[in-house]
Amino acid sequence: MIGVFLSVMRRDLLLAWRRRSDMLTTLGFFLLVTSLFPLGVGPEPEQLSHIASGVMWVAALLATLLSVQRLFESDEADGTLEQMLLSVEPLAVIVLAKVCAYWLLTGLPLVVMAPLIALQFNLTPDETLIACATLLIGSPTLSLLGAVGASLTLGLRGGGALIALLVLPLYAPLLIFGAGAVDAWRAGLGVQSHFALLGACLLVALAVCPLASAAALRIAQD
């Protein structure tokens, strides 16, 4: 089981490495969207630091949505997905491996890039650290929920808009806890509860999303 997990992950990482530009597109999107905000709301440092964490989180949501819909596409196209469905190993484990690889490729780079955006938005070092930590804990949950949406909309017309409609409402709590942590810190309040709740969301998503996604894949390929 662990062997399957690792080999699926390694395969996905290798495939993505051969097509690095896909990964960079998502990252570029993230940086571009966040850089547009100062142009939209004005360059006042006070205001920018106010909205920084929210902007980072919304950009992360959209970047995830943009890329996650292709999570199972190539597997479906080349028949790998069928093999996965027929595999004796639990499908949920395979899905989890794919999501892990996906997060390493798209979620982690966002977290790594976040300090740069924090710099642009005039956050203090403390606030930067908190913003990055929320993204670190929260972005895997974004990937997991996104995988459910991706498997539900696999091969459907209008997939992009549909996945947004399905997944964005589910992202609302993450956005609140994630972006709220920096605000709470600025207001002199503790941030432990924000992190505890983000962690709880991640654990629930880890337990539920691979199963739901596997079920959706079986439905899609029935």
């Binding site: 459910v148 539900l152 909309t153 459907l156 017309r157 209008g158 549909l162 409609l165 399905l166 964005l168 409402p169 589910l170 609302a172 709590p173 609140i176 806890f177 709220g180 605000d183 709470a184 207001a187 309040l189 709740l197 969301c201 539920v208 739901a212 079920a215 959706a216 439905i219 899609a220 029935d222």
Partner: protein
């Protein structure tokens, strides 16, 4: 040639479906019998509720007559939640017992639930303007109602995007259940967020003591909303049954007027 092929393929499928869809066939006339009582109850309760709400219930001391919006606002908000739960329940039943009728029930409920959510938002906005000076505030209840509305839209959009009804049923059921798990999380998170932010200095807590006539009017309207929802959902599920089972004998006999229901 093609005709004989057609009838050849149809004959066994009709036989299989008769066995497989036994429950829709028996449910269809039952739904038809329940239809009129539900409509009558809906109309009677609405009339009673409106009369109580507008002519018996007094003007509120603090809010004036604008509070009379609650006679639709509160029932609509309640119904939007109840219908979502009912929808998720039927989806779960369908997934577990593999019954097509329950999937039909949930797709019949969704548009009405979305409608109630929209009505709750709309009337909430119109109530908010005179009461706390703004059409929209990011209050916990309003925000979660908005997200609930989006969840309904997602469910319906997903079902509409899938042509194969079997896949549409199951995929929709999955997202409805995931959404139902999320509804309490969303409500809690939004409430918590709102308390932390405390930006808008408005309190949506209703007047502490509600006159009993106001409460009666609201409850009557809530019951009317229940009756309406049942009636319209039964009507829609009957239409869905005909659409989906159009190859079966009972629907064909029904449509040509050979049986009555």
């Amino acid at each position: 040639m093609s005709d004989s092929q057609l009838s050849a393929t149809r004959a066994p499928s009709a036989g299989v479906s008769l066995f497989h869809y036994a429950s829709p066939q028996t449910f269809f006339p039952l739904a038809g019998k329940l239809l009129w009582p539900s409509w009558i109850a809906a109309v009677a309760l609405t009339l009673a509720g409106l009369y109580t709400g507008f002519f018996i219930a007094p003007t509120d001391a603090t809010q004036g007559d604008s509070y009379r919006i609650i006679f639709i606002h509160v029932p609509a908000a309640w119904m939007s939640m109840v219908v979502y739960l009912a929808m998720a329940f039927w989806c779960a039943v369908g997934l577990v017992f593999n019954t097509r009728l329950s999937f039909m029930m949930s797709s019949a409920l969704a548009p009405t639930g979305a409608l109630w959510a929209f009505v709750a938002l709309w009337t909430g906005a119109l109530w908010g303007k005179p009461t706390w000076g703004t059409y929209w505030a990011w209050d916990a209840r309003m925000t979660s109602e908005l997200i609930l509305f989006f969840l309904y839209c997602g469910y319906m959009a997903l079902q509409a995007a899938i042509d194969d009804p079997r896949r549409a049923d199951r995929a929709g059921a999955l997202i409805a259940i995931v959404g139902a798990v999320n509804v309490p999380i969303i409500y809690f998170s939004v409430k918590w967020w709102n308390t932390l932010h405390q930006g808008a200095s408005v309190s949506l807590t209703q007047s502490p003591s509600m006159a009993s006539t106001m409460l009666t009017g609201m409850l009557l309207m809530a019951l009317a909303a229940w009756a309406y929802t049942i009636a319209v959902a039964l009507m829609r599920v009957r239409a869905i049954m005909i659409e989906r089972e159009r190859q079966t004998d009972w629907v064909r006999q029904l449509a040509t007027g050979e049986t009555k229901a």
